[in-house]
């Protein structure tokens, strides 16, 4: 029982990452009708916002310590971050420690700008082009973006720890009446789960309760008619692209303490997020979220020893197996509409 509970927790956590990425992907597809293969790259850029902020905060003043030597026998250069000089060592260290959550503030404007630039500079010209062209051009863009990141940050993962406050883990089992230490869960993963929930709720509320959201939803349903009504749908769609980029970016920022960012993390998530979107049903926002959590939980269950000993290698293929079964039994995914992306 406790083993199952803990895998549900794991699944929810994985699922919230899948759901956030798939949500952005669906927003772009649903509003603009564009298949965005660079969405994984947006997630990656978000993660590197955290890395960048961490680097900025640790820009250091170099002093030479003649007492100690470096590996070549020269006097050691000691690096002290400027923030520690300005705010004193303790507050400075705390600011550096909180780099990941602080990076949210950096990521929102950066991601919205990146989103605008992408939409205005590139995607705009591809609305009328076949999906294959969209895939190819955004795939090219994804490669370019990740190679730029690699040029500046190298290929190895970069550690981006959570603030020390969130570094421990919480004994959830005790609350639920289990023995101590049976169900333990890291604080940061709980933070990530609630963060993802908040973002998802905010996006839905935004689309549901604002005029802007209403227009966008109308545009998703029938773009031409909304355009005929004299509403400038293009400008709103640009904003939606920025919003989708920001969602992907925030998912990336907050995920960094769980998964040390490297330049190809976007590609690793890309296939998976497409599977999630399709299982959920193309263009359906609730579908994307539902499928994200569903696949996360199923993947966690498949990794259990009991399941693996029954079906060796099942954890390697579970996602694809589920996708095949769902697509064959529910032709348009869990919550898809008829006629979307079927030609």
């Amino acid at each position: 029982m406790d083993a199952i509970l803990i895998q549900i927790l794991n699944g929810l956590d994985k699922g919230s990452a899948y759901a956030l990425i798939a949500l952005g992907l669906t927003l772009i597809f649903g509003t603009l009708g564009v298949v965005n293969f660079a969405h994984g790259a947006l997630f990656m850029i978000g993660a590197f916002c955290a890395v960048t902020l961490q680097k900025i905060l640790t820009i250091s003043v170099t002093t030479i310590d003649p007492e100690r030597t470096d590996f070549l026998g020269n006097p050691l250069k000691v690096q002290t971050p400027y923030v520690e000089n300005w705010f004193g060592p303790e507050i400075g260290a705390t600011i550096v420690d909180w780099a990941v959550p602080l990076a949210i503030l950096l990521a929102i404007p950066v991601m919205i700008l990146v989103g605008f630039a992408m939409e205005r500079g590139l995607i705009k010209h591809f609305y009328k082009r076949p999906h294959a062209d969209q895939i190819l051009v955004t795939f090219g863009l994804a490669i370019v973006l990740q190679e730029i990141i690699k040029y500046f940050y190298g290929a190895n993962p970069i550690p981006t720890p959570a603030p020390s406050t969130f570094r421990g883990s919480l004994d959830i089992g005790v609350w639920l009446g289990f023995d101590p230490f049976t169900i333990i869960y890291p604080y940061w993963r709980l933070v990530y789960f609630f963060f993802a929930g908040t973002i998802i709720a905010a996006v839905f509320a935004f689309l549901q309760f604002t005029t802007f959201g209403m227009v966008v939803r109308a545009g998703m349903a029938d773009r031409e008619t909304v355009g005929l009504l004299g509403i400038d749908i293009d400008r709103r769609f640009t904003l939606m692209f920025g919003l989708a980029a920001a969602v992907a970016g925030l998912a990336g920022v907050m995920y960094t303490p769980i998964l040390s960012p490297n330049y190809h993390m976007g590609m690793d998530f890309l296939v998976l997020s497409f599977v999630v979107v399709v299982v959920g049903g193309m263009g359906s926002l609730p579908g994307a979220v539902l499928a994200g959590f569903l696949l996360g939980i199923l993947q966690s269950f498949a990794s259990m020893n009991e399941v693996k000993s029954l079906l060796p290698g099942i954890d390697q293929i579970i996602i694809y197996l589920v996708a095949i079964v769902i697509l064959l039994t529910r032709p348009r995914g869990l919550m898809g509409r008829r006629g979307v992306m079927e030609d």
Partner: protein
């Protein structure tokens, strides 16, 4: 000729000519000169050009004609390779049985996967094929290691039975076609130039010409017309009471067999089959080749395949040392500036250059390289013919395209 229209005959002849003289055409720079870096006329790469050409031609029969975008075609390539290597291990080093088995096995898998996947269309079809291919890749890499030798790749070894060949004499046996070894080659030295003519390449080239000929025949056949009709409007086809599924399934199986042939040839040229060949990026690569060259055109996929393989093998090998050689004639300061400017795009940055090229081609040449060639051709024609004629020509083409 051979049941082809005149235009197609010319195309066929041109392709045959280029393929036969590829060892010369691809080595335009004298060996040892600074530009020899850009020579591509060595057997391994030429073989890859034609093999991936076959792969892309086959993919184009499915995607170019029916519009069904498969994201899992690399699986058939991998299955072809594994079957071929197993044939080398068990039966004989002769390439014929290996290639036959790889085509048959790939065809069988394509039949099953196609039968299931073709129940859906659009992106749902793409994801289904992707899912099948990724499952094959993940399993081949880990659980199926007894069959596939996992990460290391399946190789021939001294202890293999090879029923027809008998025991080998010390060294590892070599793949051959009735005694003609695949890796045999003759080098022709003409002045400073050197050209390699290898047996393996000409075996691949002959099969590619055959594959190309078949694809031309398919494109021009009533069956090809039917597939094109599926692409333009499947619903209308269904309303006329026609079941399109057998046609698309046939196209899927044919293109799967092309992929199997390509995989078998890869193994015949170099008897190793790695799971990496089945990864989704490999499937993506053939999509890129086809679209880059010009989907739905006859020659486009081959061009795209050559383009990408050239990048992968030639651009990635340029390093800073070579750059310094190129710009050695410049003053030191300027030399360093040039090297610094170009550095991010070559060697370990070849992915970046490739990404930029994709984007440029897709943005400015939606029809791929073939459209680029047509435009250039039109540009030249404009000089000696009146402009009106060219415009009407272009308009006609556009109308035909739409």
């Amino acid at each position: 000729m051979l049941g082809l229209e005149r235009k197609d005959t010319y195309l066929m002849l041109a392709v045959a000519f280029i393929t036969l003289f590829a060892p010369i055409i691809l080595n335009p720079f004298p060996a040892g000169s600074a530009l020899a870096q850009f020579n591509a006329g060595y057997p391994d790469l030429m073989q890859r050009f034609v093999i991936f050409g076959i792969f892309a031609i086959g993919f184009n029969i499915l995607f170019g004609l029916t519009g069904y975008l498969s994201f899992g075609h690399a699986a058939f390539l991998g299955i072809g390779s594994y079957s071929a290597v197993w044939m080398f291990k068990l039966l004989s080093m002769n390439v014929i049985p290996a290639i036959l088995l790889s085509i048959v096995m790939a065809g069988l898998f394509a039949l099953v996967i196609g039968f299931v996947s073709l129940r859906r269309s659009g992106i749902y079809f793409s994801i289904l094929t992707l899912a099948f291919a990724q499952m094959s890749y993940n399993l081949a890499y880990s659980v199926l290691t007894p069959v596939t030798n996992g990460e290391t790749g399946l190789q021939i070894s001294l202890n293999d039975p090879r029923i027809l060949d008998g025991p080998s004499n010390g060294g590892l046996p070599v793949t051959s076609l009735f005694g003609a070894e695949m890796r045999d080659s003759t080098t022709l030295f003409v002045g400073p130039w050197s050209w390699d003519f290898s047996v393996g390449y000409y075996v691949c080239a002959a099969l590619m010409l055959l594959a190309f000929y078949l694809s031309v025949r398919i494109f021009r056949s009533p069956f090809g017309m039917m597939l094109r009709a599926v692409k333009s409007n499947q619903q209308r086809m269904n309303y006329t009471g026609l079941n399109t599924r057998p046609y698309t399934l046939a196209a899927f199986v044919i293109s799967g067999m092309y992929a199997g042939l390509a995989g078998g040839l890869l193994a015949a040229m170099d008897p190793l089959a790695g799971a990496d060949r089945m990864q989704w990026t490999a499937s993506g690569e053939v999509v890129l080749m086809t679209i880059l060259g010009g989907a739905g055109t006859l020659i486009g996929p081959v061009l795209g395949a050559g383009f990408i393989k050239y990048f992968e093998n030639i651009f990635s090998k340029i390093n800073d040392g070579i750059l310094h050689q190129w710009f050695a004639f410049m003053p030191d300061g300027l030399e360093n500036v040039m090297v610094t400017l170009i550095h991010p795009f070559i060697g370990k940055g070849w992915h970046l250059t490739l990404g930029i090229m994709f984007m440029l081609v897709v943005i400015f040449l939606p029809g791929g390289l073939v459209e680029g060639a047509q435009r250039t051709g039109r540009l030249f024609r404009r000089r000696d013919r009146n402009a009106g004629h060219v415009e009407s020509d272009a308009a006609r083409q556009r109308a035909a395209a739409e």
